[in-house]
């Protein structure tokens, strides 16, 4: 990860090999997922329960793509970032359950 910047020679070569292609693929993927989500709502033809599922699904996939490619989480040496985000997500998940079921008005 950050050792890239100092041990630049070898690491930079690895990045050159990778090139921008996978990032553009990630971008196109994100774009498509966004479009599907907006289309599902804009069309207004699908029932709301199913739309929710599509929306959440698209968002989760897109976030996964961005985390993995753009934020380099798929690269080596990201054990603690991954653990950090996963644990954060678990906490958030319990809170979303709380907000959906145990808060009433």
């Amino acid at each position: 990860m950050s050792s890239n910047h100092s041990a630049a020679g070898e690491e930079a070569r690895r990045h050159k090999v990778e090139g921008p292609r996978k990032h553009i693929v990630a971008f196109v993927l994100s774009l498509a997922l966004t479009l599907i989500a907006f289309a599902a709502v804009a069309s207004g033809e699908i029932n709301s329960q199913f739309t929710y599922i599509i929306l959440i699904g698209m968002a989760l996939v897109q976030v996964f793509v961005q985390l993995a490619f753009w934020m380099h989480m798929k690269d080596r040496g990201h054990l603690f970032p991954i653990m950090g985000i996963i644990f954060g997500v678990i906490v958030v998940f319990t809170m979303v359950i709380m907000a959906s079921y145990w808060v009433w008005w």
Binding site: G88, A99, Y101, V103, W105
Partner: protein, 615 residues
Amino acid sequence: MAAHAHKVKRYRGLMDWLTTVDHKKIGILYLMAGGLFFLVGGLEAVMIRIQLIKPMNDFVGADTFNELITMHGTTMIFLAAMPLLFALMNAVIPLQIGARDVAFPFLNSLGFWTFFFGGVLLNISWFAGNVPDAGWTSYVPLAGPTYNSGHGVDYYVLGLQIAGIGTLLGGINFMATIINMRAPGMSFMRMPMFTWTIFITSALIVFAFPVLTVGLVALMFDRLFQANFFETANGGSSVLWEHVFWVFGHPEVYILILPAFGIISEVVSTFARKRLFGYSSMVFATVLIAFLGFMVWAHHMFTTGLGPVANGLFSIATMLIAVPTGVKIFNWLFTLWGGSICFTAASLFAIGFIPTFVMGGVTGVMLAVAPADYQYHDSYFVVAHFHYVIVGGLVFGIFSGLHYWWPKMFGRMLNEGLGKLTFWTFFIGFHLTFFVQHFLGLLGMPRRVWTYLPNQDFDTMNLVSTIGAFLMGVGTICFLINVVVTSAKARNAKADAWEDGRSLEWTIPSPPPEYNFKQLPLVRGYDAWWKEKMEGKSAMTPAEPPGPIHMPSPSILPFIMSVGLFIAGFGFMYDKLYLAIGGIAVTLICMFFRSVFDDHGFHIEEDEQEKGVHA
């Protein structure tokens, strides 16, 4: 090489303390500030107990009493217990992992000063005449704008918000330190237990404090900008506050107690001259407790009316925490088993911790039984329970740790006689105060009561409890006397002050030089220093040749940034927009300077390294 080093900026006296980025000095700052707030909170506790010494007492008024309980709880948890833990963390962790400093020395200093100014802001409320009075939990609507229109709760919200920034920074800092700064050879499973618990505690801080931040922001918006998060009249939900508070609040309990577990593990194994029994299961239990700690918050809300499904789930989840906790207790007992136990003040506190904490733990399981909790909840039984855990657990742990690491922090051994006197008065006082409170709760005395009617069978036990509180006060004074007496003496502590030290902090002089380790040590196993000693060596094998040591420069910026936030806090509270913007601008400008002007630090050359080091 030296050509690149910049002229050393050395400050003296007060300026040295304001600008220091040395973790050892920051540890001492935390100790002094946390100790000060501990005394303030203790004074509040004594006043609470005096008020409750007899039925229908009028030592303090009802309003004042609610202010006292609120400030006592808030101060003790956020401004005394956590800073005292941070004091020990700062003083010990880099030494235990064989590092020259923490990962972010600048942030470390910033964390201290934001905590300090947050605490000062909170306590200024006493002088402003607007003291928070809705309990340390600040349940809405009582803490909301409608029923609490003064500035009291604003002090709570902003003070905690600012202090919380400091705590969060500390958590991130220590996680990064432990992950990245360990000495060569110190794998995760060779880390001392205290380091492990601090690692997990830091992780809990990182994931729990943002929840509090959001809760406080929402409450602040409700109070200052007419938002409706918790205003039921406009669609808000008061139950939401309870959830948010306890999603933070329960992990907070483990943030407090896990470091105590770590201290006890170190002290017990040192003074029994034995390796910690079941090290790997201890590590696993710590991780498990932390994880489960996030899944049980609603057991504070059994009577809120969440319904049987939630109550059942959270009951069972809560009970499960007893299993890893039990593992820890038995591991300590079996560390002592077969050992050679030496009774110093430090080990007395650690040994006193074990049965006391067990009692706090079992009442915890009792509280987890939701239907029975309908009876215990918000009664004195709960007060007894959490004081058993927090005082009997955490404060005993802190006392134990202070007696244990005092020589390392200050180079002087605390007086053993006074230390033992501290233990016995505090220990007996503690049990007198809180044991009877279990029964007060069961007999029907709700908590947070300003006074109580006569003829309810509460009188005798309340009297006993108050007497105990005084005894605890005496214990604390004994400790203070000990500190004063000790600091008047010459430095007398050896590097391995207790002679049975097991981890790396005991391989370097007491107190350690600025740079801690002249050469970073090579770690060859768990209990690194003990291992070398047992093999007949008198020093660690160095992992690097001696050379100039790079140090970060001191900086006044953290102090100024915190002052900026402090001023902004007042600006928000009293609707002075220019103050709020000005204060935040000060902070941002400091951040700008920090980013633009690189800190190149300075070097301590080899020939300077021995200067001022006490062998």
